[in-house]
């Protein structure tokens, strides 16, 4: 075995077209090292969510390979991959489907065979990490937007994943909830792929950014350089909010 651990997430030349024939991904290469936080940015329709859905086999690649911690995604490894990739959906309303928050957090680990005290401990730990232990008996549809997002993250953290894939995690949150989310994500000791339009959040959290457009990786590099390149951003329908330092 080599000294360096395998990348937490690796997509190699992934191609995909939707059932109606619309091409979505035209050879995506993407790496997230163990413990690394990477941003995936791009305009609407660039293929960001499609890439995200490939990371745990919710969409089947047409060509190319997906590897999680060195394990190649195949029908036989699907179950293990889904434990190792924690996918947080854009709309928490879709993610939280159990009658109570506690049961929702238990859903994933229970599917992977945990029972009894072990399961309870896992749920408690995940809720505690996200500081939402007091919500355990609440119904998901009675939570605020910020609470819902944190609980959604807890539901996948309970699986002890190698990598978190978050689709638009800051969308629709008020500034205080967004701040809490950023603090939480910064404190999690797990690799993260953030799919987002929230460039200030990217600048805070992710040293590396991957810009995609038209189903291809346009550039993959240091966040500071990419976000400073106004021309590049504008060419791909992105911009830093007006008045922010770093913007002309």
């Amino acid at each position: 075995m080599s000294q360096t651990p395998p990348p937490a997430l690796e997509l190699a030349d992934v191609h995909f077209r939707y059932p109606d024939g619309t091409p979505a991904l035209a050879g995506i290469d993407l790496r997230v090292e163990a413990g690394e936080r990477v941003a995936l940015v791009g305009p609407n329709g660039a293929g960001k969510t499609t890439i995200a859905l490939h990371t745990n086999g919710l969409l089947r690649t047409e060509a190319g390979e997906v590897r999680v911690s060195g394990i190649t995604l195949r029908p036989e490894t699907l179950r293990e991959i889904r434990q190792r990739v924690g996918f947080v959906f854009q709309d928490a309303e879709d993610q939280l489907f159990m009658p109570t928050v506690g049961e929702d957090v238990a859903f994933g680990p229970a599917n992977h065979g945990l029972r009894g005290a072990e399961l309870e401990a896992r749920v408690e730990a995940a809720l505690a990490t996200l500081e939402v232990g007091h919500l355990a008996d609440r119904a998901p549809h009675h939570l605020s937007g910020g609470e819902r997002r944190r609980v959604a993250i807890a539901t996948v953290l309970a699986l002890r994943p190698d990598v978190l894939v978050l689709d638009e995690p800051s969308a629709g949150l008020d500034p205080a909830s967004r701040r809490e989310l950023i603090t939480t994500l910064a404190g999690l000791d797990v690799a993260q792929l953030l799919v987002t339009h929230d460039l200030p959040m990217v600048r805070e959290l992710c040293p590396r950014t991957v810009l995609v457009d038209g189903g291809r990786v346009v550039t993959d590099g240091a966040t500071s350089e990419i976000l400073a390149d106004e021309e590049l951003l504008a060419a791909h329908r992105l911009e830093l909010p007006y008045g922010l330092p770093g913007r002309a």
Binding site: F97, M98, A110
Partner: protein, 261 residues
């Protein structure tokens, strides 16, 4: 978001009734309802006795009568039907305040009304003291197919979401001047319902994806550790139907009801 996080029919308390395992309460409620349903319509005293038993349990459960009584309005259609029976039934008639009513109709009407009120009262008491997730798990323990309880659970979970979508759609229609008054103006509303159906269908697919992403393969896992029912739970819960049986047998044996006829 609203302050309360429990369902509208639930009364948050820490009574002995609240503390009972849900499946025990379901059995007790069902048994009580059977006693109510099998009590003859003419046995007025038994119905009064059964009502008294229910009142005592309601008091023990610390469920306010002011909470329970308005919700009994759900049986109003039965009460209306019961009120009509004396006038539409055939057979010998008696004069009450100068109006001829059928004797059989009065008996039948009373029986219908009493059974509806007591049955609904017992069910309301069950849901006032049991939260929905517990109730569904209770039904599962009583061997109700998990497919049915899961459908119910998802329905309850997403009912508010869909109701919210309906509300927003209506608001959007109203905001652009849609104010239907006549039947032929309903077309946009019907189209809206179609959209809503497709949206709900798509949401269903997204929820399914979210479930698969966390390892779902077709069977709902056990996610909670439940308290097993002990003998004391059963004794306490079954006191309700047992008392009901005693009341019912006592009235028919002593013949009080016969005397009143």
């Amino acid at each position: 978001m609203g302050a309360g996080h429990r369902h509208a029919l639930y009364v948050h308390e820490h009574s002995a009734v609240h503390g009972l395992p849900a499946h025990v309460k379901v059995v007790a409620t069902f048994a009580f309802t059977v006693v109510v349903a099998t009590t003859p319509a003419t046995d007025v005293v038994a119905f009064v006795g059964l009502a008294a038993v229910l009142v005592v349990v309601t008091h023990l459960a610390r469920v306010p009568f002011g909470f329970l009584l308005p919700r009994l309005a759900v049986v109003t259609p039965f009460l209306l039907a019961a009120a009509l029976l004396p006038f539409v039934a055939s057979g010998p008639r008696v004069e009450v305040f100068g109006i001829a009513v059928a004797v059989e109709g009065v008996r039948g009407g009373f029986g219908l009304a009493a059974r509806a009120v007591l049955g609904a009262g017992a069910s309301l008491l069950l849901v006032a003291t049991t939260e929905v997730p517990d109730l569904l798990r209770g039904l599962e323990r009583l061997r109700v197919p998990t497919l049915l309880t899961q459908i119910a659970a998802f329905m309850i979970r997403y009912l508010e979401v869909i109701a919210g979508e309906v509300g927003r759609q209506r608001t959007a229609m109203t905001a652009r001047g849609y104010d239907p008054r006549w039947l032929w103006q309903l077309r946009p509303l019907a189209a809206g319902l179609g959209t809503l159906f497709i949206r709900s269908y798509e949401r269903g697919e997204r929820v399914h994806s979210a479930m698969r992403a966390r390892g779902f393969t077709g069977h709902m896992p056990r996610t909670v550790v439940e308290r097993d029912a002990v003998r004391a739970d059963w004794l306490l819960a079954l006191a309700l139907p047992l008392t009901a049986v005693v009341v019912r047998v006592a009235t028919s044996l002593t013949g009080v009801s016969e005397a009143l006829r």
